[in-house]
Structures are given as structure tokens and as C-alpha cells.
């Protein structure tokens, strides 16, 4: 990292105050192996609070694995991941969500047979406390909490422009709205860090432009955004910082302009014209979603 020492100091500040321009998420020497494959190999990254940080790289570079390590779906073999000064390694996914990190999935993972409203209420689950007895007795505290959760869900649905279809089942929504619904659900957890895994995947140009505005809007509301994206228009358009991954390692990092001119990036990623077409082809390859990363390209390297 270019300004490691400064970052350390600011991180302490962020942990104390909860705001400011410190490092909100810090990955240090993170590695994850699947059998003989090094899906992520000594990966370092600092995500600055209030920034929009992008992680890019060819298919199978290990990007989604990084997300799964941060959100507690996988446990790293080595290294540390800290969020607002607290260690995340060893925390379960629901604890990570409670700590303030919300995510969307590369292949959508909505609650298909529930309504949009219920989907978004899922995000509020970890902000409630009511137990079985309070729920059966409908205690005043439980009702108050329920009202608050519904109000919050309504706010998130409205923000995403989905209030009109609140009673539709998630599976009946058109594709673009499904993407938005997943973001609404993540926002309902009231996160400090929002992780978006290929939010523009499968969107048309108009929807993509809308998404870029939305990402800016989310950042403006004080939430740090960390995204994986294949669509270079989105990455270069919204990012403050871009990190480039290949074969589980970080090969470059900087502003969008710096990264675009880095010869290593051009070689690994932008060099072959085919790679630019990836947003379309990536859909099918990665159907395994949360667990599908760390194959393909990496396996070629294994002796």
C-alpha cells in the first residue's frame, strides 16, 4: 500500500470515532487454498471509509473468494481481516452482517417465494431483538420494534424505487428490479460497508447508468462501497480506488487512470480483447455463486 503508515493511524481514529476518512476494511496477507489451489494468495487491501473501491480481474482470479472471506463464508488459512478496527476472521456470516457489512451476490440469491417487502425485512432481522414469547404475546416493545423494522424496510424499498411492487413475489420481478431488490435488502441491515458482487451483471446500458447513480447515492448517504465488477464503464466511472487481481494476487492498485495504464494490468486483464466481453459470458460460468470461484484460470497454473 502506498500510504500504509498513514492508513494505520487513521484506522485507529476510525475505530474510535466511527467516522472520518480512515480505513474501514483492512485485509492483510490473506490466503485461502482449496485443495492444491491457491485461490487467494497473500492478498492485501485497504478500503477507505466513505470511498467506492473496486476489485477487478479476470474470471477465476479470486475476487468472489475475497468477498466470501470478508463476509465469513470462508475462513482464511492465513492473514487477518479487520473491519473498523475489529478482527473479522473467525466470525460467522451473520455476525459479520451484524457488525455492519452487507452484501449482494453475483448470482442473485433472493427469497424467491416471499414478497419484496418480506425480502427487505430480512435485512432488518439482525437489528431486532424480539424473542418467541414477546412475539406470541405481542408485547408493546415487540410491536414498537416491528413498526420500526417495517418503516426501515419501507425506506429502503422507496430508495430503490421498488415500493410499488412491495407485495409482488420476488420471483415475479423483472431482472433489473431483482438486482435492485437485493441491494435494498442489503441496505436494510443498515451497513457501514456495502459489498456488491457484479451489480451490473446482466443489466442493459440504461439500467447500468441508473446503477452508477445509485452507487454514488449510497456512498453519499455515508456507506462505504466495495464492489467487484466486470463492466469497465462502471468501474472507471464510480471508483475512487481500483485493485486488480490475477491468480489470487493483487497485481496493481490505484486510481482508475493509474490502473488503466499499468502494463501488468494490460497484460493480465485488458491485454486480450476477449476479456472485455466478459460481462456477458461470466453469467453462466459462475453459477455456483458463492462457492464457484477459485477454479478455471487458477487451476491452469498448478503444476
Amino acid at each position: 500500500m502506498m500510504d500504509g503508515a498513514r492508513g494505520e493511524n487513521r484506522e485507529r481514529g476510525a475505530a474510535n470515532q466511527g467516522t472520518g476518512n480512515g480505513i474501514i476494511l483492512k485485509l492483510k496477507g490473506v490466503s485461502k487454498r482449496f485443495g492444491g489451489l491457491r485461490a487467494v494468495d497473500g492478498f492485501d487491501l485497504d478500503v477507505r471509509e466513505g470511498s467506492i473501491t473496486s476489485l477487478i480481474g479476470p474470471n477465476g482470479a479470486g475476487k468472489t473468494t475475497v468477498f466470501n472471506l470478508v463476509t465469513g463464508i470462508y475462513r482464511p488459512d492465513e492473514g487477518s481481516i479487520s473491519f473498523a478496527g475489529r478482527e473479522l476472521v473467525g466470525k460467522l456470516p451473520h455476525e459479520v452482517a451484524e457488525a455492519g457489512i452487507a452484501r449482494t451476490f453475483q448470482t442473485l440469491r433472493l427469497f424467491e417465494n416471499l414478497t419484496c417487502f418480506e425480502n427487505v425485512l430480512a435485512g432488518q432481522h439482525c437489528r431486532g431483538r424480539a424473542g418467541v414469547i414477546a412475539s406470541i404475546l405481542r408485547t408493546p416493545a415487540q410491536r414498537k420494534e416491528e413498526d420500526r423494522m417495517r418503516g426501515e424496510a419501507e425506506r429502503c424499498l422507496r430508495q430503490m424505487g421498488l415500493w410499488g411492487c412491495r407485495d409482488e413475489l420476488a420471483r415475479n420481478l423483472p431482472y433489473g428490479n431483482r438486482r435492485r431488490l437485493e441491494i435494498a435488502r442489503a441496505l436494510a441491515t443498515r451497513p457501514r460497508l456495502l459489498i456488491l458482487d457484479e451489480p451490473a451483471g446482466g443489466l442493459n446500458e440504461e439500467e447500468t447508468a441508473g446503477l452508477m447513480d445509485l452507487i454514488e447515492e449510497i456512498r453519499a448517504s455515508g456507506i462505504t462501497v466495495f464492489l467487484i465488477e466486470h463492466d469497465m464503464q462502471v468501474v472507471m466511472g464510480v471508483s475512487d480506488l481500483v485493485a486488480v487481481m490475477d491468480n489470487g494476487q493483487k497485481i496493481s492498485e490505484g486510481t482508475p487512470e493509474e490502473v488503466q495504464h499499468d502494463p501488468r494490468v494490460i497484460e493480465a486483464y485488458l491485454g486480450t480483447g476477449d476479456d472485455l466481453e466478459e460481462p456477458d459470458t461470466s453469467e453462466g460460468d459462475n453459477d455456483a455463486g458463492a462457492t464457484g470461484e477459485g477454479t478455471g484460470r487458477v487451476s491452469v497454473k498448478v503444476d
Partner: protein
């Protein structure tokens, strides 16, 4: 039900459609069903009242299994184990210590719930068919333990005789009519509690897990804890139903709690519609009352019954009364 701001606005797209029924209809239908249920024993013979009593017990069991299978999507095909634990707890404690059945009703529920919690703990992370096989194992474990008469407590294959009865001011609950009111009061109370749970963060969390476990966990639902809670509550309600069953049957023995009975329970939930409370009532009617009605056809009845089940799964796999999602536009008329 109280609502957040703005929630009472009618849905734009559905508003123009005239409602099929006046808004009061559900309340009227509920009142009519309740009245019919109260009046039923006055017109029916003891035989049919007894059928209704067992129907009620199976509704309780179905409701308890519906928490596990219907709401969370955990395949439990050994649910009779907890019913047995409840029934035996009642019979043993009643015979040895003469504890009142009214006390044993919640106590057996708690014992069965604890047993459910302890037995499910090591297997709760298993998915789908793996969990199903493990629960079949639980059922057999419990049944065979009861058969082996541990510490002379269970009476082996002969079972235990219950001498005590539920008493209300010295009046014993003995006649079918008495049991009928007892059972269906318990059913009504359980339904109210379960509907409220369904519409709380607890019930929603169960549904999130059923829909997508990974997403539920990523949204902050403690999946393991929520699953264990469902198992504990389900086992507990089955155990409480066991108390009523023991009082009704007088003699309880391991043969009442076979794997086959667990399969029937499982069918009740699937047939009625997963996660649907009215579905459980219909499902248990189909599984219990229908065979009674078909009794006149003697040896053909299981044939009819099996064919009906197969056709049902082909033409209506979502169940007799599929669960409806809660919707913001229904809330004005929402009552219980």
C-alpha cells in the same frame, strides 16, 4: 395489527380489481367455523366425536411438525419420537408422583422440547435428505429404548396404564365430548400463537432459511440458532400433544409411535401445504378422517387412499391450502 407509516396505502396495481368478498368475510367464516366446531358434539355420535378428537391430536402434531418442515424446511421424519417422549413423561410422572395432568401438559412439552434440542444439536447442520435419515434414526432410537423398558420405567412392549384424568373442579375429562373440547381448545390456542409467530421476526427468519440459507445467514440471521429453536418448539408442542394422547388412550405403548406414524405426520404437512396452518387442519383431515369415511369400502380403502395421494402430488404439489404471503395491502382487514 399496527403498521409503519404509509403502509395502509392500497397497492396501485390491485386496487382497481373489485375484491371478491366483502372485507368482513374472513371474520364471518371464522365465526361460522368456530360455531360449527362448538356445536358438533351435540349432533354427532360418540364414534364421530372420537374421530374428531384424534383429528385434533393430529392437528396439534401437524402444527408442531409444520414449524420444522413447513416453516424452516427441515426434513424431520422422526417426529413421533417427541410425541412419545411427551406421552411417556406424562404417564410415568402421573403414575409415580401423581402430578396433575394440567401441570404435566406444559411439563411434558418442556421435557420433549429439551429432548428435541439435545437430540437435534448434533444433526441440525445436515441438509435435506441427510437430516431426514438422521431423524428416522431418532424415531427408532426412542421407540426401541421404550421397548427395552429402561430402569423398569416404560413397561416395555406392554406400555403403561394411565389412571389419572384431566380434572376440572373434580369433574374428570373422560367422555369423548370432554376430550373434544379439550383438544380443540388446545388447537385454537396453538394456532393463535403460531400465526403470531409467523408474522414476527422469528417466523420470517424461518422462512428466509427455507428459501435460501446462505442469503439468510448473510443478512444476519443466526441460522443454526433459528433451526434449533424451531426444532425445540416443534418437539415441545408434540410433547404437550402427547399428554392429551396419553390421557385419551389410557394405555400407551411403543407401537403407537412407529416410523409409519411419523411418515403420516410428514404427509399431513406436505399434503396440506408447507408452512400453512389451515393446510395442517385439511391435511390431517385427509390423512385421518378420509380413511374413516372410506371404511365402508373395506379392503379397497387403502387403494383409494394411495391413489388420491399420488394424484394430489401430481396435480396440486403446493398442497391443499398453500400458505399465503403476508401483504401490506391486506393489513387493514387483518385480524386473527
Amino acid at each position: 395489527m399496527r403498521l409503519g407509516p404509509g403502509l395502509s396505502i392500497r397497492h396501485r396495481r390491485t386496487a382497481p380489481k373489485a375484491p371478491a368478498f366483502p372485507r368482513r368475510t374472513p371474520a364471518l367464516v371464522t365465526a361460522a367455523i368456530a360455531a360449527a366446531a362448538v356445536l358438533f358434539p351435540m349432533v354427532a355420535s360418540d364414534y364421530w366425536i372420537d374421530v374428531a378428537v384424534f383429528w385434533g391430536i393430529y392437528v396439534l402434531l401437524g402444527l408442531s411438525l409444520n414449524i420444522i418442515v413447513g416453516e424452516v424446511g427441515l426434513f424431520d421424519m422422526g417426529h413421533m419420537a417427541f410425541f412419545a417422549i411427551g406421552a411417556y413423561t406424562t404417564a410415568i410422572l402421573s403414575a409415580r408422583f401423581g402430578i396433575s395432568l394440567w401441570l404435566l401438559l406444559p411439563l411434558s412439552g418442556i421435557v420433549a422440547g429439551l429432548a428435541g434440542h439435545v437430540l437435534a444439536r448434533p444433526i441440525i447442520h445436515l441438509r435435506g435428505d441427510y437430516l431426514l435419515i438422521a431423524t428416522i434414526g431418532l424415531n427408532e432410537m426412542v421407540r426401541i429404548s421404550l421397548l427395552n423398558n429402561p430402569w423398569g420405567l416404560t413397561g416395555g412392549p406392554n406400555g403403561i396404564i394411565m389412571l389419572d384424568q384431566f380434572r376440572i373442579f373434580g369433574l374428570a375429562v373422560q367422555r369423548p365430548t370432554h376430550f373434544y373440547y379439550l383438544v380443540w381448545t388446545c388447537v385454537a390456542a396453538s394456532m393463535l400463537a403460531l400465526v403470531r409467530l409467523q408474522r414476527s421476526r422469528i417466523g420470517r427468519a424461518w422462512n428466509f432459511i427455507r428459501e435460501d440459507e446462505v442469503a439468510a445467514e448473510a443478512m444476519g440471521v443466526d441460522v443454526r440458532r433459528a433451526k434449533l429453536l424451531a426444532f425445540t418448539l416443534g418437539a415441545g408442542l408434540a410433547g404437550a400433544a402427547g399428554t392429551i394422547f396419553a390421557a385419551k388412550l389410557v394405555v400407551i405403548s411403543p407401537e403407537s409411535f412407529t416410523f409409519m406414524e411419523s411418515v403420516i405426520l410428514f404427509c399431513i404437512v406436505i399434503l396440506g401445504g408447507m408452512g400453512s396452518i389451515p393446510g395442517v387442519v385439511l391435511g390431517s383431515a385427509a390423512m385421518l378422517v378420509l380413511p374413516e369415511i372410506l371404511r365402508n369400502f373395506a379392503q379397497y380403502r387403502m387403494l383409494f387412499f394411495g391413489a388420491a395421494m399420488a394424484l394430489m402430488m401430481i396435480f396440486r404439489p403446493q398442497g391443499l391450502w398453500p400458505s399465503k404471503r403476508w401483504s401490506t395491502k391486506l393489513q387493514e382487514g387483518e385480524g386473527e
